[in-house]
Structures are given as C-alpha cells and as structure tokens.
C-alpha cells in the first residue's frame, strides 16, 4: 500500500476513533415519561424465543399510550439486548435501573438469566415481571412470576402421559439443557414419578449444553431405551437446540404414537423453524395456545397481527403467531398498569401491594388472577398436540385455574417454607 494512502487511512481511523470517544458525553434527559425496561435477548441462542416478547411489551405500551398513558404521563420503553449472555443480563439490569431509571422491567426467559439479575433487583428494590414457565424454588418480593410453576405445567403433563389417553408411559427419558430449570424440574419430576411407583432404572436423565446441535446419538439412545417398555420423553431443551432435536426425531422416524415427546419450552414460535409434518402428535404443555377458541383470544390475535404488520416484524408480518409467554407478558403488563393506577404511583413497594388480587381477562379464556400473597398467577393447564400446520390441538385441560406452588412439595428441603416472599431486610 503506498504511503499516502496509508496516511489517509490513519487519519480517517483516528478521526473515527475520536468521534467514537465523544460518545462518552452524557445524553440529555428526554421529556418526562414513565420508563419501562425490556430485558430480552435479541441475539444469540435464545433470540428465537425472546425477541417476540420485546415486541409484545412494545405493543402493550402503545396500547396504553393510545388511551392516554398512566398517571397522566406517556410510557417509554428502554430496550436493551443482553445477547443470551448471563453476566450481560446483570450488567444491563444495573444499567436499566441505575442509569435509565426504569420503574419496572419485563424480561428474562432462562432461569439462569433471572437468577443473574435477581440480586440486582433485590438490592436496588426494583420490579421484574418474569413471563416464562420455570422450575419454582424461588419467591422474591421484587419479582412477579406470570409463567407457570411446575405444578402448573410439568406435573399435569406427566400425569397425562401416564394416563391411557396419553399413551400409558412406563419409562421416562428426561432430556434437558444443562442449567437450573431442567435440573430442578427433573428433580421434582423424578420425585413425583417415584411417588407413582416408577423405579430409577426406568428413568433416564440426559443433558446437553445450550446451543447443542447434534442429536443423532441422543435420538438413537432414546430409541434403544424405548425398547424396554412404553417410553415418553419429557423435554426441557431450551432455545434453538429444539430445532435440530425435532429435525433428528423426524428423520429417525420416531413417531409420536410410539414415543411421545412433551416439551415445556416449545410453542408456536419455536415450531416456525421446523417442518411440523413428522412431528404431528408430539406434545407441549402450556397455559395458553394460539388455537384456543375464546373471544379474548380472538381479539388478542387480531391486535397482534395488526401490530406485527404495522411494525414490519420479520416472520410475524406474514404469519403472525402468538404463544404462552406472549400471553403471560401481556397479562403481566396490564396487571402492572392496573396496579399503578390503583396505587396512584410507580413506587415499587406501593405497586407490589396493589398487585395482590389483580384480575384480567386472559386470552386463554379464563379470568387470570394474581395470587394475594405468592406473586404468581392462577393458571389453567392445557396439553396440546402438534398439528401438521404448526398449531396445537388442545387434547386435555384442567377443569379450572390452578394455584401455583412455587415451593414444590416434592422437594423434601422445602418442608416448612411459607407461600409468600420473605421481606428483604434493608441491606445498606
């Protein structure tokens, strides 16, 4: 490279670096709005599941702003991307609360991300709404859990699989991603299975890392294990690992009527990336399916389709899908807004008090209620079978909403735990 070009290149680079440094200058505060934090992975292995939740929050904010906002002020979203990186979740949470001064955050999917940010929310006394099914074993004053606890998802699903209608399974493969949610859920399920007389040699527990892509050996192992008796697979695989797993299942010819697979983290959105035809009959357990017929659901789907088209959201603008965590986010957001109105302020402690007992007409067809004490919603459980078009057939449901048991009775260490968060003493 000739010298003059090199010199120009250097100058340009220096200027560019200088401009970047100027970025250090603090930004002026915007107009007086209520700031709402959105803490979902927009890239990385969890983006397949979490991105749509960011858009759900934005849609809910637009809805409320159109009605005049809250307490006379407009709502403003502060969106950050923690990129499926747990330490980054904690850092972004600190930034949202400390720098951006958000009054509430809607975020997290994996239990790891939630556990990473929990100390931040407790220390800085802010609010987190967590919309995803999880393993329980946690109850924090600063978190509202709008997703299912194990007794609202995992246990009813296993009971269904044991029943004749579900296939009468005698052997169980517990397959999950290697982190706290699958580990704890499987611990609870193993204890539950023991209580139903299933022996340890009929339970096979397997874990794969996040982002794992090669399921050939595992599918072969499942086939081998199933030769010992009617087998069902309980899958707590998370994120985009589900796609290669289901592809491998389909290619290996493992049909649902031979070895049914029930997944807790696979919904309409995760099925988008796979050809559903070989998966027909495999199951998922949620508290909401897009195929549920109810007036509230029809309206929810209509709102979402219009929003997705208007905002050009990739994927949803042509084929809008709604799923359980979206519904849980939507319910949580509306309940929060209602609580703020009731409390007359966005102060954390006042809103926490006002949240108790909030109700909302949920798209799943029930009237959702926030428990008076335990920060969880009462939810109905639905079991759905995958259809050839990627939607779910609801094949079973609980007669009515089920109250959450965040401290599972199947874990002996939980004896004596109360059903409400311990008041955190001031740390400072």
């Amino acid at each position: 490279m000739n010298p003059s070009r090199r010199h120009a290149g250097k100058t340009l680079t220096a200027v560019a670096l200088g401009v970047a440094t100027l970025g250090f200058a603090p930004f002026v505060q915007a107009a007086d709005t209520i700031k709402i934090g959105v803490l979902h992975s927009l890239s990385g292995t969890m983006a397949i599941s979490e991105t749509v939740l960011k858009d759900t929050v934005l849609m809910a904010i637009d809805e409320i702003n159109a009605k005049g906002g809250l307490l006379g002020k407009q709502l403003e979203a502060v969106v950050v991307d923690p990129a499926s990186n747990w330490p980054l979740f904690a850092e972004k949470a600190k930034q949202l609360i400390g720098q951006d001064k958000v009054v509430v955050t809607f975020g997290c999917w994996t239990s790891v991300s939630r556990k990473s940010v929990l100390p931040v929310y407790e220390e800085l006394n802010s609010l987190l709404f967590y919309p995803v099914q999880y393993e329980g074993e946690e109850l924090s004053k600063n978190v509202f859990y709008t997703g299912a606890a194990p007794n609202q998802q995992a246990i009813p699903a296993v009971e269904y699989l044991m029943s004749k209608a579900g296939g009468g399974a005698k052997r169980w493969v517990l397959l999950g991603t290697d982190y706290v949610y699958p580990r704890t859920t499987n611990k609870i399920l193993r204890s539950f299975l023991h209580s139903k007389g299933v022996k340890d040699e009929d339970i096979d527990e397997k874990y794969t890392p996040f982002g794992h892509g090669d399921y050939q050996t595992i599918v072969a192992d499942i086939k081998k294990f199933s030769a010992g008796g009617k087998t069902a697979v309980v899958s707590t695989i998370n994120g985009d690992s589900n796609v290669p797993f289901y592809k491998e299942l389909g290619n290996a010819g493992l049909k649902a009527k031979d070895v049914p697979v029930v997944a807790f983290s696979v919904g309409e959105e995760e099925l988008r990336g796979v050809d559903p035809k070989p998966l027909v009959g495999h199951l998922a357990a949620w508290n909401y399916f897009m195929s549920i017929k109810s007036p509230a659901n029809t309206e929810f789907i209509k709102k979402w389709s219009a929003y997705a088209k208007a905002k050009n959201i990739p994927g949803h603008k042509d084929k809008p899908l709604t799923n359980d965590p979206m519904e849980a986010t939507y319910i949580g957001f509306n309940m929060w807004a209602q609580a703020v109105k009731k409390a007359g302020s966005t102060d954390t402690d006042k809103v926490i008090t006002a949240m108790a007992g909030q109700t909302f007409a949920a798209p799943s067809g029930i009237t959702s209620m926030m428990d008076l004490k335990n920060h969880h919603l009462h939810k109905s459980v639905f079991i759905g079978e995958i259809k050839a078009d990627g939607q779910f057939n609801v094949v079973w449901k609980t007669p009515g909403p089920v109250k959450a048991q965040p401290w599972s009775p199947f874990i002996p260490e939980n004896k004596g735990k109360t059903d409400e968060p311990a008041m955190m003493a001031a740390k400072k």
Binding site: M1, R6, G9, K10, L12, T13, A14, A16, L17, A20, T21, G23, F24, F27, L42, V80, D81, N85, W86, P87, A90, E91, K94, Q95, G98, Q99, V112, K115, S116, L118, P119, V120, E123, E137, E138, T177, D178, Y179, V180, R183, T184, K187, Y207, P209, F210, E413, K427, K428
Partner: protein, 390 residues
C-alpha cells in the same frame, strides 16, 4: 546497553518487505522507551497522578459528593471503571506475551476465568446459609442433589487458600500447557489455535453442571467477602481502590521486566527466535516464565473482577472473549505497556456507550476497529499519539 539496530532482520525469504519494515518501526519505538531520564520523570509523575485519581478523587466523587452534585460519580460508573481496570490488567498481561515476546494467545480468557472462579468459590461459601434453600451448600449443589462438597471445594472456606488458588490454578495450567507447547516448538498461528482449543475445552468443561462449578449458572448472588457485606458503596469503593492499585502495581512490575535483561531476551525472541537459539539462549525458559507470569496476572484480574461484577460463568472462557483481550492490546498499542491499558479503556468504554444507545452498530464498530488497527494503525492509539507528537 547495546542497542538493536533498526535494520530489518534476515527472516524467511518469503516474508514480504512490508512486514519487515513494520518490524523495524516497532523496534525503533521499543528503543524510544529506553530513553532516559526525560521519559522517567514523565513516567513517575504519571503514576503519581494515577494513584491520586484512584485512591482519592474517585472515592470522594462517589461517596462524599452528593448525588445531585455535578462532580458526582455514580455507582454504575464506579463499577464500570472497576470492571475495565480488571480488563486492563488482562490486556497488560497480553502485551507482555504478545507485544514483547511475540506469542499471540487466544486463550487467556481461560486464565482470567480460573482466577475468577477461585475467588467465586470462596464467595459462594461466604453466602453460608443465606441462599434460596437455607442450607450451607450453594444452591446449584442442592438442585444437583449433592450432599457434600466435592474434592475441589475442600479449601473453599479459607480466604488464604482460595487466594493461593487464584495464583496457582491459572499458573499451573499455563505452566503445563506452555511447557509442552514450547518444548515442541509450536509457534505462531499453530500456537494461537491450540490456545483456542484449550480455552474451548475449559469452557465446555465448566458448562457441565457435574463439574461442580455451577454449570451454566456459574456463581452469583454473592453476599459477603471476609465477613463484610459486598453490596455497600464502601465495600465497593475499597475493592475499586484495591483494583486500581493492583493495576498500577502490575504496570510497574511489567516496566521493570521489560527494561531488564530478561525483557531484552524476550524482545529478541519476538524478533528472531532462531537467532536467539543460535546465540546460546534457551527460549523455552524465557517463554515459559513470561507465559506463566502473564497467566497469573490474568488470574488475579479475574479474582478482582468477580466480586465487583457479581457473577462469573463459563461465557468468560469463550474464544471470543480471549480474542477481545488481544484487540485491547492491539488497539492501544502493542509493546508499549501503557497502550493496552488505554486500549482496554477505549474499547470497553465504546462498547458500553454503543450497546446502550446504538446496540445494532456496536459489532460493526468493533469489527471495523479490528480491521483498521491491523491495516492502518499497527502501533495503536499510543503509537498514533507518539507519531503526532513527533
């Protein structure tokens, strides 16, 4: 002291003239560092200023100035600067092996993380029974159904033992790995790739819950250190000051190394290893020594990082994290010692700003930085300043 001439070394005939010229320029800058005494006065006054900033100015701005005051430094900013200082120590370590010895390691993140984990183990024990399950074991062991501590947690209750591990664990790994690698004369790109393999293997190992290091969760939710609550501004400030002093201390040590005869041999190894061998030195000993020392530096940096950031997990061991350490050194200026510190601050500062306000553009900027620095700014920012001053 004999000075090395600026002539291009008789290298491999296939090496292009451009790179030989680049090496010559690098050598000239290395010589400049040796200029005394004007440089020395400048250097010691700089260090005094740094000590005052770290030890006095920042604590005052954070703890004493009220929050609404113009000079107040927010807790968030203090934590950010502390984190970047830990990174700066790692970048300094990288400069010692890459800038001065010519060994590019793409696996230093593993040493950083090992030090962090050693500290993390101690902090997890300090949680005591205040975890979610109110048992004296860390939460992740409870959900794994372990009834007692595995063997590698045997010493985790003792602060002194764990601090020894902060130095021993990365040091031992580096020593063994380096011994075998350098003995087989693995150099250059091949060496970089196997360091990548090493950190990748470590990462996979630590991601497994069965390994006993918290798996994907890692360690988090720390409560106390040495009995003192971590989450108070005072404790954080003490940690901040300790980190700052450690950084300055390591800088001084690095200076001393580089200025000594040992340092000269290192630079000779960087420039013409075969010739060093022909003149009778055994490069293995020198490379191994500096490699192990730099790994220990990273380990210490990691140990300081963990209580301030509040979490450690195997994502610190990804190859990408290690490559970023290399870029801090490159952007700041290799073989200058102050350069990597500047580079660490610059790149991480830019990262914080961009991911906050323009997250979609951050990777473009970072990628462009890599390309621009290698193409146009081989001496980094510090080199640019020196050129401008000239």
């Amino acid at each position: 002291m004999s000075t090395v001439t600026g002539a291009a070394p008789l290298g491999h005939p296939e090496r292009s003239e451009r790179s030989a010229a680049g090496d010559a320029v690098m050598l000239r800058y290395a010589q400049d560092d040796m200029r005394v005494p004007h440089g020395l006065v400048r250097r010691w006054s700089g260090i005094a200023v740094a000590l005052v900033v770290v030890g006095v100015a920042v604590p005052v701005a954070n703890l004493l100035v009220p929050e609404t005051g113009a000079l107040h430094l927010s807790d968030y900013a203090v934590q950010l600067i502390a984190k970047i200082m830990c990174y700066a120590i790692a970048a300094l370590a990288m400069d010692l092996i890459w800038g001065y010895t010519g060994i590019l390691s793409l696996g230093h993140g593993a040493f950083f993380a090992l030090g962090g984990y050693a500290m993390g183990m101690y902090l997890m024990r300090q949680i005591g029974s205040d975890g979610q399950y109110h048992l004296p074991m860390p939460d992740f062991m409870v959900f794994l159904n372990w009834k007692e501590f595995p063997w590698h947690w045997a010493l985790s209750d003792s602060f002194v033992a764990q601090m020894a591990l902060v130095i021993l664990a990365p040091g031992l790994l580096a020593f063994v790995f380096g011994f075998f690698a350098f003995r087989s004369r693995i150099k250059g790109v091949y060496f970089s790739i196997i360091t990548q393999a090493m950190t990748f293997a470590m990462m996979l190992l630590f991601f497994r819950n069965e390994t006993g290091f918290g798996g994907n969760n890692g360690f988090t939710d720390f409560k106390r250190i040495l009995g003192v609550t971590i989450a108070t501004p005072q404790t954080r400030m003490v940690l901040f000051v300790i980190t700052g002093c450690t950084l300055i201390g390591f800088y001084l040590v690095a200076r001393a190394i580089v200025g000594s005869k040992f340092g000269r041999v290192l630079q000779a190894i960087r420039d013409a290893e075969s010739r060093v061998m022909f003149t009778g030195y055994d490069p293995l000993r020198y490379k191994l020594a500096i490699w192990t020392f730099s790994a220990v530096m990273c380990g210490v940096a990691g140990a300081l990082y963990v209580p301030q950031v509040g979490i450690i997990n195997p994502s610190e061991m990804t190859p990408a994290a290690s490559i970023e350490i290399a870029i801090w050194a490159a952007v700041g200026g290799r073989a200058t010692l102050i350069g990597p510190i500047v580079g660490a601050f610059f790149v991480n500062g830019a990262k914080s700003v961009f991911t906050q306000y323009l997250p979609e553009y951050w990777l473009y900027v970072l990628g462009a930085m890599f390309i621009a620095v290698t193409l146009f700014l081989p001496q980094g920012i510090v080199g640019l300043f020196r050129r401008v001053r000239r």
